[in-house]
Symmetry: C2
Subunit: 309 residues, 2 copies
């Protein structure tokens, strides 16, 4: 492995998981880390997310040969600009942002003299902060790398190897295509989940207590991703606006068609639509991207796991 000193800027779910994963799978790499929040830094030190939690970002990046920015998309540029003069000239700069065109632009403008190869591990949970990370977050998940044209191929392959060693499968594509793909597999689902949870909270004729009690009918599934970090998701939608609005338009057209089928009582159209969505679930399970057990393997059916009763 060609990297020896990794600096992680931002010690939340992603940054913390990278720190822990590197200690487990790449124990020879020395890790430094920084977070803008003193509380996060203190907790990161307690959990040992990195070898050295630094008091300043400058100190964290000073000797690094790989710097990964793990901050919300909207502050990538500022976080990078703050350490521009401290990052060694030959260090590779990367990130984990959920949108790639805007982040690549922000990092490129903040660090015009450095090599930047953006990346996005498609892995996460609804939790955030320095307590959320764990070493196996990236196992069997995909990490999308979006190198600029004419990039340094040796550095690129070192970054690919880095992510593969942490357990991820790596795919390379353009930032533009990434943003389109993730708009449908991640951004739109989050937007819809946030919307329906909001809708359910605001009803006059159904109480919040009823929404909670009868959530096992399907609603509870949406509340998980709607519990994700609001700052990060605000930034995702603002930074991938065009692709999200495009996908949202398609979704709305399809929803309108189903709405009409319900109103006119067109059972055949409903059945036909509902019958063809099973195959995708089956493929996702076959590809190892979800749990094959019913109900995601939730522990509540046998009452032995996970419930706070």
């Amino acid at each position: 492995m060609s990297f020896q000193r990794l600096a992680i800027i931002g010690l939340g779910l992603q940054g913390g998981s990278i720190g822990l994963a590197v200690q487990e799978f790449l124990p020879k790499i020395a890790t430094t880390g920084y977070d803008i929040s003193p509380d996060f830094r203190a907790r990161a030190a307690e959990r040992g997310l990195v070898h050295t939690v630094c008091d300043t970002a400058v100190e964290a990046v000073r000797d690094a040969d790989l710097v990964i920015f793990c901050v919300p998309p909207g502050v990538m540029g500022d976080a990078a600009a703050a350490v521009r003069d401290a990052i060694p000239a030959n260090a590779l700069v990367s990130d984990v942002g959920s949108s790639k065109q805007a982040v690549a632009k922000a990092l490129g403008e903040a660090l015009p003299d450095h090599l930047v190869i953006p990346a996005h591990p498609v892995a996460g949970t609804e939790n955030s902060g320095p307590d959320a990370g764990f070493a196996h977050l990236f196992r069997n998940r995909w990490c999308i790398v979006t190198p600029p044209e004419h990039t340094d191929l040796l550095k690129l392959s070192a970054l690919v190897e880095f992510w593969e060693t942490l357990g991820a499968n790596v795919e390379i594509m353009t930032a533009e295509h990434h943003d389109l793909v993730l708009a449908v597999t991640s951004h739109l689902p989050h937007l819809i989940a946030y919307t329906i949870v909001g809708t359910a909270s605001d009803l006059e004729d159904v109480t919040q207590s009823e929404v909670i009690k009868y959530s096992a009918g399907g609603f509870r599934d949406f509340t998980r991703i709607a519990a994700s970090d609001p700052t990060m998701w605000r930034d995702v939608f603002l930074s991938n606006k065009d692709a999200v609005l495009t996908m949202l338009q398609r979704f709305t057209e399809d929803l309108t068609a189903l709405q009409r089928a319900i109103r006119v009582g067109d059972g055949d159209a409903l059945f036909e639509h509902f019958a063809r969505t099973r195959a995708i679930r089956r493929s996702i399970i076959e590809e190892g991207q979800d749990d094959s057990r019913p109900d995601f393997g939730r522990g509540d059916h046998d009452g032995t796991k996970g419930l706070s009763e």
Copy 2:
């Protein structure tokens, strides 16, 4: 327990789970069952979902003092009419349908001389058919009972006790209110999940293979409930049309507001909306209606459970 002979019409997820739960928690009740599909009947007999799988519905209900219809909402009336003359006069008739006004009407019209007390256990998985049921499906879930006015209170309390013994918490409300509550906690989430999975399948610029690969970004959560039984869900939407369309209207308004916030770049509005949806998730977990572990406790992070790799 005042029931001694239970007949279950329809041996899918719900009927099979009731049969297994009764054998575990109410072993003195004799159970008969029938399903219109010969394959389902054969499999139900192999799994022992009920003590006796009958070749006709008439045979199944002939001696019952409790008959529970576990068929899709759209065929409740027909299934009941087919055994009208065979159900003993003093038997209680119930069901498990996901919509209640339409089902109560259909059962009432088919069985004008019988006592019908509809019910709806808010419990399930994405699986269906005679292999899907399990005895603990109803544990710590809510069962909503929607008795008609001036019902037989002794029979009502016997039905409540029946469900409580199977592990459920019981709530009593009108069929009308049930349909409104479930429209938001179950029907709308299913409609939206079916829609987005369909939208993602139909894109030209993102391949189905990409949708599957990067589904861990959020999309996979929706595919679970979009894998539910299409016949049943067609019937749910047709039979609870008004409440579903009302809730869908509210959802669409909220989605349009968020869409506008994205388009005009109103980060404050997005943040404010995203920040207030976490509390509902917390309440759902506190009320024991979901798994407290991150990611529903999915087994894929440690790679030891549930994955077909």
